[in-house]
């Protein structure tokens, strides 16, 4: 339980600071750190494959994309000047309301007391599951990924004259 608390604390802290920071790169990197925290949680929960997959996908790939995006969209002049957006208060209000609601729901609802034992669901079982009942979904996801890849390239690719930047 203490490990869980540590992981939770670290991840939440990283996420919270990331939101507060001005510098995009730093907030991005901190968010990547929070993703690593989540991977740690998965490890703690015993889902090794998912943890390594999370690291491989988020820290390996998505972080790169995010950082590239941040670089590509930096304004020509220095760091972005920040004008206070009027939305801070309602944002926090809504976030707080949702948090309170969820927490209330979690605490009040009778959740099933799980056995707590480490479930025997390793890579082999996952492999069988994926290629068994969920083979269709797997293929669909493969197709989705390819299409997303191509779509992203097309969207982001500079088209002719108007990509002035």
């Amino acid at each position: 339980m203490t490990a869980l608390a540590a992981i939770a604390l670290l991840t939440l802290a990283a996420a919270a600071i990331a939101l507060a920071l001005r510098d995009l790169i730093h907030s991005a990197l901190l968010l990547i750190a929070s993703w690593v925290g989540i991977a740690a949680f998965y490890l703690w929960a015993g889902a090794e494959f998912v943890a390594f997959a999370q690291v491989l996908i988020y820290v390996g790939a998505i972080s790169m994309v995010v950082l590239f995006a941040v670089l590509l969209t930096r304004p020509p002049t220095g760091p972005a000047t920040r004008e206070p957006s009027g939305r801070a208060v309602p944002g926090f209000l809504a976030g707080g309301a949702v948090l309170g609601l969820l927490a209330g729901a979690v605490l009040s609802s009778p959740l099933p007391a799980g056995t707590g034992a480490a479930p025997a669901f390793g890579v082999r079982e996952l492999g069988l599951k994926l290629l068994g009942p969920h083979a269709g979904a797997l293929l669909a996801t493969a197709a989705l990924l390819t299409v997303a890849l191509l779509g992203a390239v097309v969207l982001a690719a500079a088209r002719g004259k108007e990509d002035a930047s």
Binding site: L19, F41, V66, G116, A148
Partner: protein, 103 residues
């Protein structure tokens, strides 16, 4: 406070942080990252329920998370491509100014 409840609290906190990020920040990339956070919170829930849920051997949670990861990756890629396209279009990525898709 069972471990499951702890995990759920952790994920709801993460979820609301993501939501706040989306609502507060004006930069499109951070909004996207906020969404990414909310997605991860959801995955977190799945693994929690898998771990402490009634039938861990089934592994539905894990399978779902695997697929969710893949989809999230695709979503992130397309989202950021959109942001780049948006940037090319309006020189900055302040979401507030991207109002062209009006009713």
């Amino acid at each position: 406070m069972s471990p499951l409840q702890a995990c759920l609290l952790f994920s709801s906190a993460l979820f609301s942080l993501g939501l706040i990020a989306v609502l507060v920040r004006s930069n499109a990339i951070l909004v996207l990252l906020g969404v990414e956070l909310m997605l991860n919170a959801a995955n977190l829930n799945f693994i929690a329920f898998w771990r402490y849920g009634p039938a861990p051997a089934e592994g539905h949670g894990v399978v779902f998370v695997v697929f969710a990861l893949a989809v999230a990756a695709a979503e992130a890629a397309v989202g950021l491509a959109l942001v780049i396209a948006l940037h090319r279009h309006q020189r900055n990525v302040r979401l507030g100014e991207a109002r062209r898709l009006r009713g």
